[in-house]
Subunit: 82 residues, 2 copies
């Protein structure tokens, strides 16, 4: 079966995120109030051939650990849809 | 109320995504089979003070249209959790 995998890779809490700070300031300048703690990372999407949702999720986790995310500085969240 | 907003900004279908192509090749080289159509964009998360989920969603959409996404080249998806 072919699944669609969505991965979010976000800088870990506590690590400096200058891009997020810049966007937070810019949102304030544009008049958007009440925005806090902006964090910016990568959104990765792909199709994946796998036998089951579990197999697809497991493969996607392995891809994050090996290539898509930096385990020292980033957290990742995997979502699989069929 | 304070909501947590997750935004995914992804290059539109049909537009070239060299970063996605590079990652697709790299995943193949690492032995991950069955991966296709890799697209890489930005994942943006922030806290947002708003009266309701609807108000938060509407504000996040406005932020995407004004600053977070390029409407010509990118699509965005907004998810709000309380």
């Amino acid at each position: 079966m072919n699944f669609r995998v969505h991965v979010r890779v976000i800088p870990r809490p506590g690590l400096l995120d200058p891009q997020g700070q810049a966007v937070e300031q810019a949102l304030g300048s544009l008049g958007f109030a009440g925005v806090s703690g902006v964090r910016i990372g990568r959104a990765i999407e792909f199709g994946l051939e796998a036998a089951s949702v579990e197999a697809a999720t497991q493969a996607a986790h392995a891809m994050c650990e090996k290539l898509l995310a930096n385990p020292v500085t980033e957290d990742f969240v995997v979502a699989v849809e069929s």
